[in-house]
């Protein structure tokens, strides 16, 4: 029983970067842009978040809240920058979405590793790491008596602030797509840009904004990998596949932000399963394959029983050419 509780607890913590990546990509895809650059944007967010934290420590007087806020803002901006490049190329210059997204991944991976090493070179110790005070900002919050409740305390009140932030974001996004006017307009753009255009919706502006904000959210996911998973130190290739898993999770979540929370926890659980339920004789490498194998299996299953309601926004992957209406 303890093992299950611990696993669930670890699953939530490990699944949060996946959730953030998924949320960012859902927002992007709702506008009809299929951005395969999540991995790249997460890398950009990871290294920039670290740089933001370090810069805040240096110039804004020490570690702590300011460093955490700095990391959050800068990582958002970095992810948004990646998405801006993508948007400019696909929306304004009408480049192929698939190839542009893949390029963003190549670029972002290079960006992350390049600047990660530069940060290391520039620091006195030879590797880039935030101070303990900042590290503490990304530790689980202790809610006093609430956190001490048996089981529930561990399951609900023992995470760092980004976990709560992501869940709140997911719920907000679910509301946004279902109830708000802007959200409904955005969905119209993603489903059928020509009709949305005819209805007076500014397709270009919606696509740009959704993609850029989506990219920023992915960037925060990358920051989580660097600040929480890797403890505020630059690890070469630290995002390693999480961005791609997030792209797959969008499909499993059926483009529903609320369901993405569940998917994030499940896949987070799969990535840490080995630590809680070791099977004797099974090599760790096979454990590490599990999330990817499960992804494939679920991909196949969802493709076999395709339902109209739970499918990709219709125009996803295709650029909109107004004159070709």
């Amino acid at each position: 029983m303890d093992n299950i509780i611990n696993l669930l607890n670890a699953a939530v913590a490990a699944g949060t970067p996946l959730l953030l990546g998924t949320l960012g990509e859902i927002l992007t895809e709702k506008s009809g842009n299929l951005n395969l650059g999540v991995e790249g944007m997460m890398f950009m967010g990871a290294v920039s978040g670290l740089a933001g934290g370090l810069a805040a420590e240096q110039w804004l007087g020490g570690a702590g809240v300011m460093a955490a806020v700095g990391a959050l803002l800068i990582s958002f901006l970095a992810g948004a920058l990646g998405a801006l490049i993508y948007s400019f190329l696909t929306i304004t210059l009408r480049a192929n979405q698939n190839v542009t997204g893949l390029t963003l991944t190549i670029f972002g991976t290079g960006f992350g590793n390049f600047f990660g090493e530069i940060l290391g070179q520039r620091s006195a110790t030879g590797f880039a790491q935030v101070t303990q005070g900042t590290q503490a900002m990304f530790q689980p919050i202790h809610f006093g008596a609430l956190s001490d409740i048996p089981i529930l305390g561990k399951l609900l009140f023992s995470y760092n602030w980004i976990v709560y932030f992501s869940v709140a974001l997911a719920i907000l996004m679910a509301w946004f797509f279902k109830k708000s006017r802007t959200g409904l307009n955005l969905r119209a753009v993603g489903e059928d840009p020509a009709t949305a255009d005819a209805a007076g919706i500014n397709v270009t502006r919606y696509k740009y904004l959704a993609t850029i904000v989506g990219g920023g959210i992915c960037g925060i996911g990358g920051m989580y990998m660097c600040m929480v998973t890797c403890n505020g130190i630059w690890v070469h290739g630290c995002v390693s596949g999480y961005g791609w898993l997030a792209v797959a999770l969008v499909i499993f979540a059926t483009w529903n932000p609320a369901r993405a929370i569940l998917c994030g926890i499940i896949f987070g659980g799969l990535t840490v399963l080995r630590m809680y339920f070791p099977i004797k004789g099974l090599a760790t490498q096979f454990y590490d394959m599990v999330p990817y194998i499960v992804t494939i299996v679920v991909l196949v299953i969802t493709s076999i029983r395709q339902s109209r309601e739970h499918s990709q926004p219709k125009s996803c992957g295709n650029n909109y050419f107004r004159e070709e209406r």
Binding site: A95, T100, I106, T109, F111, I251, Y292, T295, V300
Partner: protein, 367 residues
Amino acid sequence: MSKEIREHQEPFVRMVKRASIEPKKAWLIRGIALLGAIITGGLLILTLGHNPFEVYASMVQGAFGKKIAIQETVKLTIPLLITGIGISLAFKMRFWNIGAEGQILAGAIAASSIAIYFDHLPHAIVLILMGLAAFIAGGIYGMIPAFFKAKWNTNETLFTLMMNYIALQFVIFLEHQASWQDSRSTFPKVRMFTDTARLPKVFGVHIGWIIALIIVVAAFIYLTKTKHGYEISVVGESANTARYAGMNVRRILVRTMFLSAALAGLVGFLQVSGSDGTLTETTAGGVGFTAITVAWLGHMNPFAMVVVSLFIAMLERGSNSIQTSHNIPASAADLLTGLILFFMLGCEFFINYKLIFRGSRKEEANG
């Protein structure tokens, strides 16, 4: 209302699709884009406190300066070129195979098993077996997602990608197997192959470069002169057209994907047998992704891909040398490759569309 319409001015800039463009002009635009990417990279180098001219010069020097450097650059070109050609087969059908990384590893694993278990056979036979095993293993590894795509339209981008990580984990697993390790070492590493499993060298580089050139010509003929090649381009244009024309789209998809991945598998063989002499986690080393750039920048043309892959190999080799000479991280290669591709993707717009600025209407009428 009518006033509003009258006041609505002609937009500052509008675009018109070009009917055609002279090849010279198109290449000029591409050249400018490349220059733009290099300048952007230069600005980045400048902000890091280095002289961009010096750094670029030392990159070229590091890639082509000495005989040994040229050999190393060619060695890097081989996997990029062959994988790029493989990927282009799939991309031509609009099948987004981004699993070349895993397919290379699948080929490398198959070739390595021959090298480990059958190295008592004669040299030529071992090499042929390794090549065949790699070709088939890579092909099958790529056929799996193609089969699901053909049958249920399963998303191939993610499927092929997930297969990369599975192959990588399997390589790490093999590194931990005592029977694959050197008995004198305790490190989790696959042992070095004996000479019977190593490719011979011609002009100081393993014969993979000759194989690569043969594949270039073969791929060109396959794509432009055969029925299969024609089918691939029709499916790429429109799967429905192909279906109406009576083509078996599913079979074409699976067959072409087999070839695409088999070429990647072959690269795995060349890497373990020719380049590294053993199987490691970095046998594929990002080639599967960089080759996407090669295929796209080469416009899926095998001959153009020779030039592009050589250029990117130069970037990678050069980045290694600026790491030692200027202390700039070697990841600069990825960054620069990404930048160049961004610019190239963007410049296609200016090849396909003409921009007309406000007030230039007279010019247009005259011209």
